[in-house]
Structure formats: C-alpha cells, structure tokens
Symmetry: C3
Subunit: 342 residues, 3 copies
C-alpha cells in the first residue's frame, strides 16, 4: 500500500549509519524479525530476540556491531539500534492527510485566530480567544476553549478537549479523549456541605510533549499546572491541579499524580503508579508499576511498593498474617530479649 521507498544505501546516508550488504536493495516498509519480508527493514534492539535474527527474512536489519556476525542479511549498524530504528520507521508512517483549511462543519468563533496553514477537521469547535498556530492539525471533534493556544505543528489526533487557559507548545501530540484544562478538584467543607473552589489557573504544556488517549490534566487553582518539554504521558493518566512535571519525564498508562506534586526531570513513572499531593520527586527517579509514592523522594533511583502475586490460597494465608505484623515483630524482640537475658 505504501509507495515510500528507499535503498539501503540511502537510509545509511540519511541517518549516518554504516551498512553492510546490498546497498541497492529497495526497502518499502518495516516489520518484526520474524514477520518482515525481503523488501522490509527490521531491527534487533533487545537480546531477548537475538535468536530470531539468524532466521529472519528481512531485507535489512538495524543492529549493534555485536550482532553483526549472526546477521543473515544486509545490516545497518547503529550505536543505539532502537533509536535508529525509530527514526527510520517514521519514514514509513502513513499519517492521515491534513490539508490546510477549516472543514465546513467546524464552528470557529469570530474572536478565534486560526493560522491559514492550520488544518481544522470536521465538527471542531474553536472558541473566542483561542489561537491555532501555523501547521497545527486538529483532527475531527476537537474542542478548543477560550484563551487556549495550540502551538505550531502540534497535532490533536481527534476528539481532544482543551477547556480553558491551556497553552500547548510546539509539536505537541494529543490523542483522542484527552481532556486538558478541566477544573481542578478543589473543595472546602462548610459545616455540612461542600463549597467549590473556583479554578482560576491554566495549564502550560511544553514543546514535544505527548498526551495519551483519555488522559486528563486539570488546570491550576491559582497558578498553572505545568508540563515541561518532552514529557510523555500514556493513556488514562490523571494529572491534578498545580502539578509540575519536569522535562523528559515519561509516565505509563493509568498513572496518577495528585494536586501540587512536583515531579523531577527524566523520571519514569510506572503503570498505575500514584504520587500523593504536595510531594516532591527528584530528577531521574523511577517508580515501578502500581507503587504509591507517600513521601517526597530526594535521591535518584528506583522505588517500589506492593507485595508479590501468589496463588490465591497461599496469598490469603500470608495476607491474613500481615494484619498482625507489628505483634509478630514485638514477639520476636521479646524472644531475643529472653535469650539474651539467659
């Protein structure tokens, strides 16, 4: 289907890689080591898949120097084969066409500013005071609320909602169902009922961030909620009001960060992990999946909570004992004391 074609020599030149084998071979797509055919490129980045290399039918494989002796076909040699593969594979991605202009079914307020090079898809709504910069692409059903800006070359795939006072930097990629700039969850308890705190801040998203499907990012109560540049959020992540996420931090699906927490740069937050409100997490911290961060973390490193999975009956016996752990520790100390008193 794709008509994109490159010779192996062209790819080597474009990405400054050495190659070995047939430089004239034409590559028109990518595939896994086990699935790629003679006109496709594959890669070996994880030694777990090394066994598949010798049997591959791929036309060329991106790999590290070490793997070269076992490669039965042409090779592109990369310092980091995964990064090199990512860059090459992008050539073969077929993105939906997005011609500049506004679809007739879109509703653009008189007070909105839409660049002539932007593309606004079917049923989009762009409200007063919104700005859509050059080359930005809004897929179908996006809603851009008042005082929101979509930065140049950003792409909102479909059905993304920016509620109010949201600024996206350049080249931001947001996936369907994402909601950015919704009310923070601020409540004051007045004797017998809740009083809502108005959420008067906004959201600032840096250049090159990615926001996953159905992820929610609340706007700040007074100051802004902030994602610095190159923050990568997977699907169904919840970022509460006034959270600050440092540059290059990545979070896996279903992670959640409570209000006013400050996450450092180059952190990795695992799937369904959580960070409680008002905490600080240092740079280069990794939190493993489903862990809950209950205190600030001052040092880089990997942190975890939780207990291991077991067959249910075994687990029940152990879990029941957890309820008495403090008692056991005391009884253990008592035994030790007795022994020492002997």
């Amino acid at each position: 289907m794709s008509t994109v074609q490159y010779s192996i020599a062209e790819l080597a030149k474009r990405f400054a890689l050495e190659f070995q084998g047939d430089g004239d071979r034409i590559i028109d797509g990518v595939g896994t080591l086990s699935g790629a055919g003679p006109s496709q490129l594959s890669f070996l980045a994880n030694s777990k898949y090394a066994a598949q290399l010798s049997a591959t039918r791929a036309g060329v494989v991106v790999l590290g120097k070490d793997a070269l002796p076992n490669c039965p076909t042409s090779a592109l040699i990369a310092r980091d084969p995964y990064v090199a593969y990512a860059q090459i594979a992008a050539l073969f991605e077929r993105l939906p066409a997005a011609a500049p202009g506004v679809h007739p079914s879109a509703v653009i307020a008189a007070g909105a500013r839409v660049s002539a090079t932007a593309s606004i898809g079917p049923c989009c709504v762009v409200e007063d005071g919104a700005v859509i910069e050059d080359g930005a692409v809004l897929g179908p059903h996006c809603i851009i609320g008042p005082e929101c800006t979509v930065g140049a070359q950003s792409r909102l795939v479909a059905r993304v909602t920016l509620v109010t006072r949201v600024t996206l930097g350049k080249r931001v990629l947001a996936h369907p169902g994402a909601v950015i700039g919704s009310d923070g969850f601020g409540l004051a308890f007045d004797r017998d009922h809740w009083v809502k705190l108005p959420q008067l801040g906004g959201v600032r998203i840096g250049d090159d961030c990615e926001i996953g499907a159905n992820t929610t990012i609340d706007r700040g109560a007074l100051d802004d909620t902030v994602l610095e540049e190159d923050v990568r959020l997977d699907n169904q992540i919840q970022i509460a009001h006034n959270v600050h996420v440092g540059a290059h931090t990545a979070m896996a699906g279903c992670a959640a960060v409570a209000g006013s927490a400050k996450i450092g740069r180059y952190c990795m937050i695992g799937g369904n992990a959580g960070v409680l409100g008002h905490l600080e997490v240092a740079d280069r911290v990794t939190i493993t999946a489903k862990s809950l961060v209950t205190h600030s973390i001052r040092e880089a490193g990997e942190y975890s909570s939780g207990v291991p999975l077991q067959e249910n009956r075994q687990w029940r016996r152990n879990a029941a004992r957890f309820k008495h752990l403090d008692e056991y520790a005391r009884r253990l100390s008592a035994l030790e004391k007795d022994k020492n008193d002997d």
Copy 2:
C-alpha cells in the same frame, strides 16, 4: 411504557423452559424479587436473595428446581436461572431506534464504504478507506478513521473513536468514550530526549466483543493488538499495544494490560488489576481485584496480591514493620539456629 408483552407459556416455549402456575398470565417487564409487580418477571440466581422469594409479588420467577417449593407465584424452571433470565430480559430492553441511513450532520468521506442497511448518527465522521458493514449502528459522534472496519450488526453506542487500522468483528458493542487504535506508547531514549516509535500496526477485535465506556485499546507497533471473540471489557480499561487477549476473557473496570502481554482464554481479570508487559497468562486464570501480575502464569487458578484493609492506626503499625520484613526473617532464623545449637 413498554408495550412488549408475552404470556408465561410463550416465554416457556421460546426458551425451552418448564413452567409451573398460570401460563396465561401476561408479562410486560422485569424487576427484582422485591420490586417486581404482578405483570413482571423476576429471577432467583443467588442463594443470598432466597429469603426475598417467599415475599415476592412478581408475576413469575425464573429459578432452579430446588427453589420451587418456596415460590409463592408462577415459576419458569431453568438449569441456570441467571442465563435464562438474561435471555428473557433482553426481550424487554428498549434500545433507541436506529433507522438505516446517514444523518445529514454526519461527514462521510468520498472513499468510505457505508452499507445501505447501516445507521450513521448525528455528527459521525467516517474517513477515507473506512467500511461500515450491514446493519451496523453508529450512535452520535462516532469517528471511524482511515482503514477501519465496523463489522455487521456491531453497535457503537455514541462517541466511540476508531483511530486507524482497526477492524471490529460482527456484533461488537462499544460504549461511549472508547478509543480503539490510538498510538501505542513506544519511545526510544536518545541521549537526552525521547524519540517516538511510529505505531504501524492495527487492532483486530473479534465477534461478540464488548468494549466499555472510556476504555482505550492501542494499536500495535508492527503487528496488531488482538482481542479474540467474545472478550468482555468493562469501563476504563487500558489495553496497550500488541497485547493479545484470548476468547471469552472478561476484565472488570480499570484493569490494565501492558505492552505485548498475552492473556489466555476464559480468564477473569478483576477490577483495577494489572498485567506487566511481555508476560503470558494461561487459560482460565482469575486475577483478583487490584492485584499486579509480575510474572507469567503457567497454570489455571486464582491469583492475588495486596494486603488487607485495616483501621488506619493499626495498618500504620503493620505497614511500618513491612519495611523490615527481611530483617525479621533473618532474626527469626538466627533464633532458631541458636536454639538448635543449644
């Protein structure tokens, strides 16, 4: 409100059930044992509710043979009363009308193929290369991206998004806010920033699957993400790229499966449970709520992780001890050794 009516004898015949009592009584709806009136059908499938049977005012009760002596009204006798009730109750469901044809506010690309018997609701967007098969129903605000297929008799309730390269089988039911075919979360770290891996695969959903509200299913990086037939996903579930879910597996709300995991057939994944990436889970495995699967599971059975809920002060004391569990185990062994050395 409903005008659907059946006599008890008609219901017995239609579903091949024995009945006892007044076969001519007209039934026009269903209700709980405590709430149903004389023209309504109820059911007893869980012995927990047996006490409610003797006082029911229902016109007829679907039940097992054992419960018959305590039934004060007519009865339909079923091997599995819950299944029989499910089948009968479907007769009384009032689904919104969905006349064939395309709503004038829908936006259908010239290169899309929409069956004349399909129903396309208000503000739907169907893009080039999409196929909508016979009898499929798209409620309002659905988006069907390029190279997507909605199988015959499938129903997208409202606001469902198929992003790209998504194939739904026949009779698939998808609920509002579901996003299928969004980008998998693939990133390569290049010295000081992230490089995105293009997500070139698709999603294949088998016949009779159900996809809950605001559930997200990412498309594969190279190969497809796959749900075999009759997979049932509740709300807010996250299925990452290249996951494979076996037929007849059911997952409760907020469960999440990380990239390339392979879940077997007839599994039950509890609410907010998680499965880490690249793992394999055998057929007929049950994972209890909020458990995290951290290693492959080779045998059918029930598996769990987590610790029990306690009053907060007690819990704090026990939880604090968890941080020293390894030390306690060593001290315990030391005491035993001392004793044996005596």
Copy 3:
C-alpha cells in the same frame, strides 16, 4: 483582564466578615500569598504557608483571627478562611458566556423538550424524550440520550454523554468526557460463552453533584444507580451499576466502586481507592489512597491497605519475604512454645 471589582469593605459586608485595614482598597482578582499583588486578595488557610504571610504583597488576606498579628496588609477575618476564600474567589471566576438558545449546529429531536432559558452549544445532540430544564447549559458536543433529564441550572462543560434513563438534579456540574448511564457490566456465563444481561435501570444524580472529566457512571441493571445530593467525584472515577453513594461524599481521582456497593454519607474515598461489589460502607468513613475495601465497614473512621514505598532493592528483599509470612508466624509460635516448654 477581569473587570470585576470590589472594595474590601464591600467584600466584608457581602460575606459577613470583619475586616481590618483599608476598606476602600479595590480588589480585582485573587492570587497566592507569594504571587498576589496590591489589587489582589489572597488567603491563609493552612499553617504550612504561614511563613509566606509576612512577605505577601496582596492587597488583602482572608485569614483566621490567630494569624492577624503577622499580617502586613489589610485582612478579612473568617472563622474558616478556606471556605470564605472559596466563596469570595467565585466572584472573580470568568465563566464562558452561555447565551440562552440552541446553536444552529446542534441536533435536537422533535420529541425533546428544551427550556427557552437553556443554552445548547455547538454539535450537541438531544434525543427524543430528553428534557433540558431552565437555565441549564450544555457546552459543545454534549449528547443527551432518550429519557434523560438535565436539571435546572446544571452545567455540562463540554462533551458530556448521558446515555439513557439518566436524571441530573439541579446545579449539577459535569466535566468533559464524563459518561453517565452507560451499560452496567452484567454477564452470565452459559457453558462456553457470555450472555449479556440487559441493563434496564437508570441513573439518578442529586442536586449540586460534580462529576469529573472522563468519569464513568453505569446505569443500573434493574433498579437505578444513585448519587445523593452534593456528591463530588474527581476525574476518571468508575461507578458501577446499582451503586448508591450517600450525600456529601467526595471521591478523589481514579477511585472505583464495584456493582451494588453502598457508600455512606460524608465519606472521603482517596485517589485510586477501590470498593468491591455488594459491600456497605458506613457514614463518615475515610479510605486512604490506593486502598482496597474488601469487606463492609460498619464504623466511621479511617481505613487503609497497602505497604510503604521503599528503595527498590530493599523493597524486593522485603516483598520476597511476604510470600512466607504465614510460615514465619508459625515458626515464631513454635519458638515461643519451645521456650515455654523449657
């Protein structure tokens, strides 16, 4: 940007607060203690921020009597400064204009009833049998299904879906992506496949409730799912079918309640906490973040589960020991027995 202005004396009078300082000073906005300028109001409600009071440049600070001596500027004195601040700040909130009437792009069924004072935004779909009461505001892309009612003065910010048989009370606030009235997850297993239970109930939401972004609330199987008045739900919460939530209960982001559970009044459910199905939780119960409620709770109080976060290598050692906790407890008892037998 805001043109709303009040003198300090006017604010004091309006909210029945004492003031100290310059009553004629004009206030045109709010800010944090560290960020507010001379024409802005700030507040001190948390002693953690007390150190910022003496350096504030705010025109006036809402505070408790105790903090008055350290206040370098005018003050509004409140019994509960957080509540007073919430009420005052609402004056300075700039909500998007919502003129009564129906946007031309909206699709209103002939059998829907829309109040002349309601505001229906772009691309909304209001189906047959739906009712939109006086002063209700539907932002862009809302879908109101059959037999749904949006109560007076309620506000659906944008892209909210009411599926079927959903009744919202007065002044309900729902955020983008919320889905209310989707199918409950009801399945009966028939030998080798699933049979779906039709979901014939509805959802009733009381006055003054708030429903967060991408939150899902399923309709009941037979009876209704119910939220009593003033229930506050944050983002990405999952409420299953036939759940009943008592008045004034608040739930933080990503919490989930399984089918038929009954939560009391004035409860606080922490972020990503879960409640299993069919349980009952008493009034005034607090569940801490990420805890799982596995049994009914009969008494008010705070409850928790989980284990503390640790550096990963330490955690691994302790977590591995958890799998043998039952054995350790037995060995401990054996040692004690031996000692007593000595």
